[in-house]
């Protein structure tokens, strides 16, 4: 254990700070699912040019081309977060497709898509889940049949965030119906303007449509839009699922949320008593603070493991389960602190900011379910982390 930063990192932090000081006027607001404005595209370019976005993407694909250094990445994230300035674009194209193409894409695919994706010119959505294939994703049924130089795709995807604005989708489809379920899937890049694609907003419990359903009717996609070989899509997709789980349950978000709650407790007074002076609220705050600290330190541990190229095992497997539950619990605490006012969800003279917390409380429940449900996470923790056996498969027609 040595928590002192080396001189190289102290200098690096100075550079980040001076960049932010000089350029913060250019930064936009936090991302929402709309197409980036021209100012936002300019900001993204500025960040890439200075190595604060697309940092480790090779120069020939439009990135900054730095060596991977998780400590520097963390310093960037910390200082941007402290200054309350949004990082570069974070969307599924950048966080999931680009790493996949770098690892498994053809040279043509890398040249065609990486540069446009990291610059924000091309926006992607992810087509994995289907109404009948959630936790059992590999059972997916959207079909692609070969016809000349094209695939013809029919089926339906669900939970597709950003589909209404996306130019492209990276999608899992069944190309080999005779093969075992994990071996019959291919990973295909689809232009969202292709005839036969219909996007319908999916209204959730929050009252907003954060997701969509996407319907495919005889959609023609050139065969060379496949990433990896036919039938290897499951393995291609798993390369990116790891990236997604790293994004969910981010401890910086929990720490920020805890600080907002402490501010709230200083501001709000009920029955003449400031919430921060109420011993029962304080006890709950301290319990949550211990969990937030534990997850922050856990992320430092993961950072060191990643820096030394070691497998962090259990410390990594628990992040999605714990992080999403913690964020949900923090939002629930904020609502309880506001009491009756905590239920206000809409414009009202009596609003003390509960809408944001109610939205988070509901949306975070969605995150506990999405990206691998809590139950699936527990299967992974017990099987990979603790070495417990998989649930035996039931016999069907005398076969397993």
């Amino acid at each position: 254990m040595d928590l002192n930063a080396g001189p190289e990192y102290i200098d690096f932090r100075e550079n980040v700070l001076s960049f932010l000081e000089k350029n913060k006027h250019m930064a936009g607001k936090a991302r929402t699912p709309v197409r980036p404005s021209s100012e936002e595209l300019k900001w993204q370019k500025k960040l890439i040019d200075n190595g604060y976005a697309a940092r480790t993407i090779p120069k020939k694909y439009g990135g900054y081309g730095a060596q991977s250094d998780v400590l520097k990445s963390r310093i960037i994230a910390e200082e941007f977060s402290k200054a309350n300035i949004p990082m570069g674009m974070a969307n599924q194209g950048i966080s999931m497709l680009v790493p996949t193409l770098l690892e498994l894409g053809s040279d043509d695919q890398k040249n065609e898509w990486i540069s446009k994706t990291i610059s924000g010119e091309v926006i992607w959505c992810q087509g994995y889940s289907e109404p009948g294939s959630g936790s059992d994703l590999a059972s997916l049924q959207t079909k692609a049949i070969v016809d000349g130089d094209d695939f013809i795709i029919n089926g339906q995807k669900i939970w597709t965030s950003g589909a209404q604005i996306a130019d492209m989708m990276f999608c899992l489809v069944r190309t080999e119906p005779e093969a075992a379920k994990h071996k019959g899937i291919s990973y295909i890049l689809i232009d969202m303007k292709t005839p036969g694609i219909e996007v319908r907003p999916l209204m959730t419990m929050t009252g907003h449509a954060e997701f969509n359903e996407v319907f495919f009717t005889d959609v023609r996609v050139p065969k060379n839009q496949i990433v990896g070989k036919r039938g290897e899509g499951w393995y291609v997709a798993n390369a990116t699922l790891t990236h997604e789980r790293g994004m969910l349950g981010d401890p910086n978000q929990s720490a920020t949320r805890l600080n907002e709650i402490i501010d709230l407790m200083h501001q709000e007074t009920i029955n003449g008593e400031k919430l921060i002076n109420n011993p029962i609220h304080l006890d709950r705050l301290m319990k949550l603070q211990a969990r937030v600290l534990s997850m922050s330190f856990n992320s430092l541990r993961l950072l060191t493991a990643s820096h030394k190229k070691l497998d962090a095992k259990m410390a990594k497997l628990i992040v999605k389960l714990n992080g999403c539950q913690l964020n949900h619990d923090l939002a629930g605490f904020a609502i309880d602190l506001l009491g009756e006012l905590g239920t206000i969800y809409g414009k009202s003279n009596h609003d003390h900011g509960s809408g944001k917390w109610q939205w988070k409380y509901m949306f975070d429940l969605g995150l506990i379910i999405g990206g691998g449900t809590a139950q699936i996470q527990k299967n992974i923790i017990s099987e990979i982390g603790l070495g417990m056996p998989r649930e035996p498969k039931p016999m069907v027609n005398g076969k397993k």
Binding site: M1, L3, N4, I276, L293, L300, R301, M388
Partner: protein
Amino acid sequence: MEFALSEEQEILMDSVKKMLDENISIDNLREHSKGDDSLRKSLRKLIIDMGLPGLMIPEEYGGSGLGVLEASLVAEQLGSYAAPSPWIGSSIMAPTAILFDKENNLAEKWLPLIASGEITACVSLSEVIGKRSDLGLVLDGTNVSGVSIFGIDGELNPTIIITAVDDNLILVETDNNGVEINEIPTIDSTRPVVEIIFDSSKCQIITGGKDAIQKTIDVGRIGLAADLLGASQNMINKAVEYSLERKQFERVIGSFQAVKHMCAEMAADLEPCRSLMWYAAYSQDFIKDEASLLACHAKAHLSEIGQDIARTSTQVFGGMGFTDLLGMHYWFKRVGLSRQILGGPERVRKEAALIQGFEL
């Protein structure tokens, strides 16, 4: 920046683990709990042979000069094996307290004896942690009288007692000084606690006032948190192991999701505690501003998680967990004691809030 144990720290932990693994079994823990002293004595000798008692004592006083993090790694292993051995009082809290002394040459006199294992020191702070109206200590000049309870590491005829009166730590020699020590029968037979009755016993005031008391409590809480971490991890490991052997409905019970998810939840709760523990122990020596707060959080949080794991893991064993045959109850009870001594979780969280300036 490196958030991981060093190679030396790993080696220290492994060597303690190996020694305990070779010498502690459910059978000799059971004999120990019936009053047989042989495990306690043989363990003490092994710990002295490894040079452990002076781990945190500076080299100039015959110790190894290591830090609270290293001491917590030993505590974690002792908890993992439910080892009946002095540690948190004699090797963590007492040296920390004595090093505050600037007037009486207490370090020169006592630390070499603790380091060599010739003596043990008992630390009893009920006076400042959870004072009871019917108990307490009174100082008359340099003589102390009264009763202090829940002294830690008082089972091997300690040569000195460290306790607190009127915002000061005091050191009391036990030989011919009106000191009576009696074990208090608690749930936990693996780690005795004692009551100490002082009858006009001569004492020396350790300088450092409230800061010295606070620091001594902080490092004691770190030790208990580490003991809880080790005990909890062991209970998870044993539960998983058992679930892979025990068959019902022609399957090992560890293949049922109901059981798997209990184990996954325990692991998910405990794993981040390890990072909290490392940071909290490291902060005692290297991030002093955060040391007291982190000691509170480590102690309170591990008390809560430890209690959940103690009950859940016992349930994984089914009826056998409830019997004496497998002996898992030794850890269940050790967790129960660690939770309460040096402050139960609510009391400790209240301190954590006060440290941050939140007014109650």
